[in-house]
């Protein structure tokens, strides 16, 4: 086997024509590809080029949203980012609120942060689980998916749905904290803290995992910035940037948390950063449940439009019903954008309104799409078996990238 060393600059010059290389079509139906195809050129066991072919699950979310009433885009954006529903929902609603000029009350802000952090934990666990099965550890896969369950149960208790919560609406949120939520959340958090130690033994510090991930798929700080990757992957390369810190939304400006960063930017760091972020999210949830202010969960502009039946429901069941405004909402003409730090990175929303009942231009960029350069840039020069490692470690979710 010739141990040729390739680097990023070779990539442009390499001529992949001819019979010299094995071409593997990994995907779109392959256990290690997800809903995408990776075309891989191999020199022996060494990858010389990877061409990710995306778009297999393109669902025209932008087009659909431009032809519907404003409120109807909420379920659509949620379904694009299934492990990260709350963040998609939140990012969209923040944009619409900017257009409408509504400011939700503080309690609603805290509740938004709460669901967002619960969702971040489930999203990271999802990523860790998929990484696990890519390296062949079914235990971590099952554990991570099992450990999402207590958190999803919390979501279910609060919002009435497990994943696609549609919890955040312009002006506030739809339900208030139910009784017994705080106690249950505390139990779940303690459980998760204990479990993180177990993960450490069987997964994070498992010698096989370390052998497979350390110095595999390294993306240096400068390259990370140049390629525009986002989220935990960016922070794993050592860039201190987190939308929650740098452009606070919801209740994050009142909350105290750290943004963990790593130095090396290899697969192991990308794994560690997710574990560290779960720890931070646990801390945040504790803080939110302690500090959450009393008060309304919906802005006054919306509350005043509720009819007596709805107001009664709000007082008794802490449930926000929709006034007719929700259907007939026509944000004044203008443009707005919002950024939200989702589990996989930053979601960016841009919406243009012409004062009509549909959005005029609906544009959003999802984090997975921005993490796509990983496939072409860091895989080169590694072995075929490292491809799942890199794929798993960047926590790439094809439906999210395809929108």
């Amino acid at each position: 086997m010739s141990e040729k060393v390739y680097n990023i600059d070779d990539l442009q010059n390499i001529n992949v024509e001819g019979e010299k290389y094995i071409i593997l079509q990994i995907g779109p139906s392959h256990p290690g590809s997800g809903h995408m195809r990776l075309k891989v050129w191999l020199d022996g066991d060494i990858i010389v080029k990877v061409d990710p072919d995306i778009g297999f699950v393109h669902r025209t979310s932008e087009w659909l949203s431009e032809r519907r009433e404003w409120i109807k885009a909420v379920p659509i954006v949620e379904r694009i980012m299934l492990p990260d529903t709350v963040h998609a929902n939140l990012a969209y609603v923040l944009t619409v609120e900017k257009l409408l000029g509504i400011e939700p009350p503080p309690r609603a802000q805290y509740l938004r942060s709460l669901v967002a952090e619960i969702n971040r934990i489930t999203s990271h666990l999802y990523g860790i689980g998929i990484f696990g099965i890519f390296l062949g550890s079914s235990t971590v896969y099952m554990w991570a998916f099992g450990d999402r369950e207590p958190f999803i149960d919390l979501m279910e208790m609060l919002t009435g749905a497990r994943i696609t919560t549609s919890y955040i609406i312009p002006g506030g949120v739809r339900w208030d904290l139910p009784n017994g939520f705080k106690e249950r959340a505390e139990t779940v958090l303690q459980y998760m803290e204990r479990r993180l130690k177990d993960y450490e033994d069987i997964w994070v510090k498992n010698p096989v995992v370390q052998a497979r991930t350390i110095n595999v798929g390294t993306l240096k700080k400068e390259d990370a910035i140049r390629l525009g990757v986002v989220g935990p992957n960016l922070r794993a390369s050592g860039v201190y940037y987190d939308t929650r810190k740098h452009h606070p939304y919801a209740a994050y400006s009142n909350l105290d948390f750290e943004v963990p960063t790593m130095k090396n930017g290899d697969s192991y760091d990308r794994l560690l950063i997710r574990v560290e972020e779960i720890k931070q999210s646990i801390k945040l949830i504790r803080q939110i449940l302690k500090d959450i202010p009393e008060g309304k969960i919906i802005a006054d502009q919306i509350y005043n439009q509720l009819n007596p039946v709805m107001k009664k429901n709000y007082e008794e069941k802490k449930r926000v019903m929709f006034p007719a405004f929700m259907i007939h909402m026509r944000p004044p003409a203008g443009e707005a954008s919002a950024k939200v730090e989702a589990g996989r990175g930053e979601i960016f929303f841009y919406i243009k309104s012409t004062g009509d009942k549909y959005p005029y231009r609906f544009r959003w960029v999802t984090p997975s799409f921005r993490n796509l350069p990983y496939f072409t840039h860091v895989t080169v020069g590694h072995r075929l078996a490292d491809l799942p490692t890199i794929y798993g470690s960047i926590d790439y979710f094809p439906p999210e990238a395809d929108r």
């Binding site: 062949g136 099952m142 554990w143 072995r383 799942p388």
Partner: protein
Amino acid sequence: MGIIPLILWLIQDLLYIIIFPGLVTILVVVVIIIWLERKIAAKVQMRFGPLWVSKKIGGALQSLADLLRYSFQEVIIPEKTDKWAFILAPGLMFAFATIALIFIPVGPYYSVLFPSYYTILFSLALIIITPIFAITVGWASDNKFSFIGALREGFLLISYEIPFLLSVVSMVIIFHTYDYINAVQNQLSFLPGIILNPLAALTMLIVMIRTTGRFPFDITEADSELVMGLFTEYSALFFGVGMATPYVELYNFSLIFSLLFLGGWWPFTLNVMNPVYGLILPGIIVVVKAFIVMAVLVFLRAVYPRYRLDQAVRSGWSYVLLLSILSVILSVVEVMFLR
């Protein structure tokens, strides 16, 4: 010897191959070990595992149900395959894995059909043939994933063969025999092999894990890279056979391990040439020991992800080879000073 005893011996030999510890026992053991593997993984992973097929006994019939399903599935032979090799290779793989059993005595009774004082050598020779058919499978499939799987199998085969043979050789040096029965008798009168030479036992265990594709050496079948590895193009019973063969190999290896290292049929020490005392009772002890070894090895699935090919090859040529050489040296030293 008269003709009638000869026929009786033949019948006994036939039963040896077909019933105990041959095919039927293999089937039972493999069915149970697959079920156990899934149950162990399920237990560690906080879930039930196979359950709803025969709920009363914890889903133990699940693997039988799978076998039935494989038997009735449509056999698909892709256009571009090398037909004969494609069809024959899995069968031959299974056959050789099974035939090796003839030379693995599970009791002091021994067959007249293949009387031999070189059982260790013969069984090793047959066991080493099996991977060749694995490579044939990969080559015949005309699928890049199978092809890469076959290449990986080849690399690993070469790098773990020598440690395997050396670990057996070191036991041969200690027991001073090429025959399992004598090896066991030696242990019965002295100490079990695992105490005499723990290094060889460790090497043997690692090689067992590698050869039968257990984790963390599940490299030829790595599903996130190679779909199903060698057996990507297979379906129906062929696939079932391909899936079962590693378990049969595991069974063989575990039998060898319990004969060479765990004292064989210890604590049963009678030496009678009689089917019940000579074969069945000691045989059950050996099979149970082998089963425990298998259970320990399948437990690893719940703990480890898989290594990369180059890492496995590198450790094969470095640590494991070193370990096996050390085990030979240890044996030589022991023989020089103890005997």
